[in-house]
Point group: D3
Chain length 284, copies 6
């Protein structure tokens, strides 16, 4: 269970509100690379954690809880960036000077359109759980497979795309308060990338954890093609050479080779449609 503190994890200050920047921040809230995703992903991984060693569950709870505070920071930042924006055309005209100054000469009408989405229409100028396009976050992006190593790579993927996003927003930021907030969040993403990879290391690294799941007897998988790079060029030209085309595999359990892809199966024949399947007569 959780407790709250009404103070923020880290200061969130906005000197010059910018509704277009608020829109970017929405991607970090409700985008698939955003903070709702990691918070909920870590919670569901924790709540379903199985295994003799409870420490992974505990660790996940620590970090999931932290991420909730990040959503809060971003939601606060969105609301502050919308603070002084005009709410209607009429007002935009009147406010031209102020907004113009803020936006570096931008036409205020333009600003309105930038916020015209649910920020103005549906939230009264607050954050909402959708991405920068207004597409609501959908929970199918919560990856929690029941396999600890698979989940850790899902988490690395989330933090890698998350830090890419955060640095892009940082590069677009022009307000010192926003830069400060983001430089903190980017640091946290650095740590979280490390953290999930460190679990893989504890689980034996490439040699111990791969192939995932390591509990499936590898002799049950096809032994001819499990370390082959399949080349699919129509003219049979070889693929570019890389770490993955020759040499020992990373898990030390095979040798990389190249295999020219070709049909090992037949043309499928599904047979005619059944009489009562409402196909056309010609299909029966």
């Amino acid at each position: 269970m959780l407790y709250h503190d009404k103070r923020l994890q880290y200061p969130v200050k906005v000197t010059t509100p910018d509704p277009a920047f608020a829109r970017m921040l929405q991607q970090a809230i409700g985008g698939v690379e955003g903070e709702i995703r990691v918070a909920m992903q870590y919670f569901f991984q924790a709540w379903g954690a199985r295994g003799r060693n409870p420490k992974y569950r505990d660790m996940l709870l620590h970090t999931a809880t932290e991420e909730m505070g990040h959503i809060e920071m971003l939601a606060t930042a969105v609301a502050l960036n919308l603070e002084k924006a005009p709410a209607s055309l009429q007002e935009a005209g009147a406010a031209d000077n102020i907004v113009g100054a803020v936006m570096g000469g931008e036409n205020p009408r333009h600003v309105i359109e930038g916020m015209l989405q649910r920020h103005i229409l549906s939230t009264g100028m607050s954050a909402y759980p959708a991405n920068a396009d207004g597409v609501p976050f959908d929970m199918s992006h919560i990856y929690a497979s029941g396999n600890l190593a698979a989940d850790m790579y899902c988490n690395v993927a989330a933090e890698a795309t998350g830090r890419v996003l955060a640095t892009r927003i940082y590069n677009a930021a022009h307000d010192d308060g926003m830069k400060d907030m983001l430089h903190f969040m980017i640091a946290r993403d650095t740590m979280h990338q490390q953290q999930w990879l460190a679990v893989i290391e504890e689980l034996g690294g490439h040699a111990g954890a791969l192939p995932i799941p390591n509990s499936f007897p590898q002799e049950k998988e096809n032994q001819e093609h499990n370390y082959d790079f399949f080349a699919t060029a129509a003219d049979g030209s070889p693929p570019p050479a890389g770490r993955w085309t020759e040499g020992p595999s990373l898990d030390g359990k095979g040798e990389f080779t190249v295999f020219q892809n070709q049909p090992l199966g037949d043309v499928p024949d599904l047979g005619p449609a059944r009489p009562d399947s409402s196909a056309q007569k010609e299909q029966m």
Copy 2:
């Protein structure tokens, strides 16, 4: 651009059709861990690939093309598993012997209900691009960030959850043809896990690739907390010790420590609602 061969990449045989098994296979087609996802993800990563070295683009095209053949195999397997199933209640009664034998004594009505979804109603007993619950695949799961290392971890995540899924389906399989098909696909997942990690290795491994993106000057991120594990227990009790709580970080650029999380910011104050924002008067 692509070419096709109407033969299958690998044989797909079904001796005893099983509609419930067909439903499981749908997860491998249209689930977030499935083959539509990886095929499309690798294509979009290839089509947007930037960088002086075109080999990553080429490699992605090879594997994306291969994955299209996997969707085809699974779609064929679904259709074959639905082949002999009764299409209506009336017929189910008549077919009791056959189906009963197949299903191990199961009531045929039950079988129908198992297929009642769009397989019977909307496809006439073919595969469709949705998961085992009938939830259509949605393309927001195509991760292609423009950052090569982030994308590789997304791909490892996809192949790790993909192989977990494939082995679970294998464990539930009882038809030799289906086991044979799956033992091939599981082998390919093994290789693909290796392949994407091999790219990370080429890019310098943990030390060279992390933190992702490595092009963002790390001195711009907060230096106090970028290798801290944040502990969030309400009673201040320490988190479990692990590879991530002490010792050098995996990228060799920091030292793991533990930090007891606490509010560094203030209580946010968004100020009153604007007069024309259609809030209640009491909020203004």
Copy 3:
């Protein structure tokens, strides 16, 4: 604007309630082949209809209004099929005799599971706007392109898949009341298929209406490949002959031929990633 009559367009009677059948009916309510789709599609086409001749707008309003009555009939049928179903495990035990008779010996627990979705949990045993898998209808399936001929083909497609669905449900029906309701709805689908094709006929049939849109000057499209069947077999083997591989085109404006697909373009080169795009350094 609309008016209502609280009586149904056609009688809806259920003698032996069957929750599994209720689930099938949901596909006809909230499936992509269902009645919400056609009602809303025809309304939006009508509301956006442009052109000197208002009769198409009027016709669409007539039929959209009719379709609303079909949703109502199906929703009523769902509620009646859930009428006598047990609401809990305890009751299912008690009701074994009754339900058992209805279901042909089926275990009542099974029946419950069949209805366990939102019918029992979220609606208190009524219909809801989702398909047989419980996937809510989403309005992106309302096709209204602003091009009358394109819309007519969208409508034919909707009524064709709609009648396929209705006949499949009819084939699975065992209650005379349900068969009667469906035999009426299937007849209406027959008419609606005719109706939209009749508009195409009024617009000049294949010769007059195609290619859609007929307002785009056809000389602006590539004249070399606009009546070619592109063959994509990797080994260059010819495609199967058909009405579409030789002879005059249906619109009388071209001649069908076969063209072996091949790359007419180059390998694309997107250039390196930009310095501030948060790609990996190796991509820049």
Copy 4:
């Protein structure tokens, strides 16, 4: 920001695991009436709260935080209900005795199908953020309008449907541990219904809070029809009498009357399609 305690808010015990019951619990996790919805809705309302009186923000944080603990309890209950379930067909056969005992004579194959969704395939027998049909929760259901009174009614709606759902699940429960957990959660829903209505009372009740938003000058709305019940029967028959057809309005600002609906507007004329809009020529 938040802190966690790894203990649960209230005991969660399962004596006889029941995967079908686990599926019902999913509706309370990821259904639109479920706990993810209320937790996130209260957080987003708090994070965007504006107004001179900060107490509503604070109150929302208290309750949002509580609701996170409810998701945790339900996720735990799902995992425990799946604990002893067979993971494969083979095992189901072997485990017939055990499972049969648990399920009251149910065929084990049936049990498997009941869990066949992502519980078995995608989560390894844990909860996931989707409803009982496997439809992932989507965040467009987080209602936070920026208007305090509107939000309170959204919250009452959420808790009213939430308690309806919880009592339905209670009625289907047969395990004492589950009943105990639910009898606690139902009590909390009782309080939360009260709580949001108490805010309305503080805001002046019907007379003070309505119409929402009360900040829009009511003289700007049409004064002829703002307290009329519009009757839409095609034959002009009067609507049923009720509190809403005569007498003073609840806000004391009008008098209820009945108005027979009729077109006050004209047939709309959108004019022809534009020449370059890719409509058919006949529409231009």
Copy 5:
């Protein structure tokens, strides 16, 4: 069943077309606070209405039918606001004077981008069933629980957020025709808020209707915490005092008190993963 009149319920006039305003109107069509939602919600509540008194069903049909006319008005308004807009860049240049005048000096290119969504690409300048962000309406927002009181609060919530939205659009309107249309629709929202609350009053108000569902024996819920406000501040500081922290509850069945939240349960222990669940070996 329904009938139609091709005239509009209320006049819809647009003197100066404004595509950006058209975009706002989309939120009132296909947003979660919009008219498709209420029309369909009231229809599904009517179609599933159970109870000895048919008047609630009848009343719902009257109002659902009215709401269909509101969608029509808004769709007409969208089409009229797009009427004179340039369809292409070329034309925008030519039309600069006209559009410039309309838009108050706005660059015409900007206007195009404002409409660039499906209005221009997919509808040929008509309305479509999506919100202002182009997110299609999804029918999971149709709340119809089978509990009359819960549904009434869902309806109040819909009309409260609906009127908030309509007044925000009114505040942004600058065309007299649009203001006239909206001042009518806002009035209707006022009535509809009243109407659904009047049903609650008929059902006994707070004392009679609460807690919802009132058919669940309240003694089965936990009696210790059903009127407690749970405080969740980490430092144990008391929550702000309000109508909900002390005094009699609104239903007169309890007394509000404050309870400092604390774990009443244990740390959950899910046990190890099963051998065949494709978890990592370390979890078994």
Copy 6:
């Protein structure tokens, strides 16, 4: 299975990159009228094709494979149109001259906002599988009914709306390379409209293929109303005359007539709610 060629099917050149045009192209990639849809639709129809004549399956594979190359062309075009765009506000200021020239005097800030969606934030300036509004493509739009004739009309609908979209984008194009690419794609849409209608012709045209499915015995459908146009005007005024109101039906199996719609059924009576259904007591 598939093979690839890394060259493009047709040249894709962009002389003057235009991010707003890139956004339009997204509709052709991930819109419901776009290329992902047709590629996947044809593949799934092929993979599920049943019938004695395998040629329809083969034909579908040829064309599905071709369409994959169209997605690739469009994705390349998006990436090239984003090539020179500024990635941040700072840079936009500096780059004013270049961008200004490109955009015809457009304010660079505006350009950024046009791309602000996932193109800049989530893809690093590449295409992604969503429409022009950023709404991800969802696979429920893959129509594959198991009925060949129904599928063909679905394909005509897809190619008709597809060509409408492509011509609209052509009309908005100002770059010669883009016009050249589109004039090729529009030609392919022309052929594909022909191709699917040619299948209908092979299947017997209107007389042979209708009503779809033609395998359902037409005598089982209601014979009174299967060729009636139902008029639904409230005042009983006749519908506009058209090809569909009199004369022989297109399939030659009936005669069109007009029927004034009226209730043939009764007021439905669902009976009271069940005692344990958690309705309000008043409903029981």
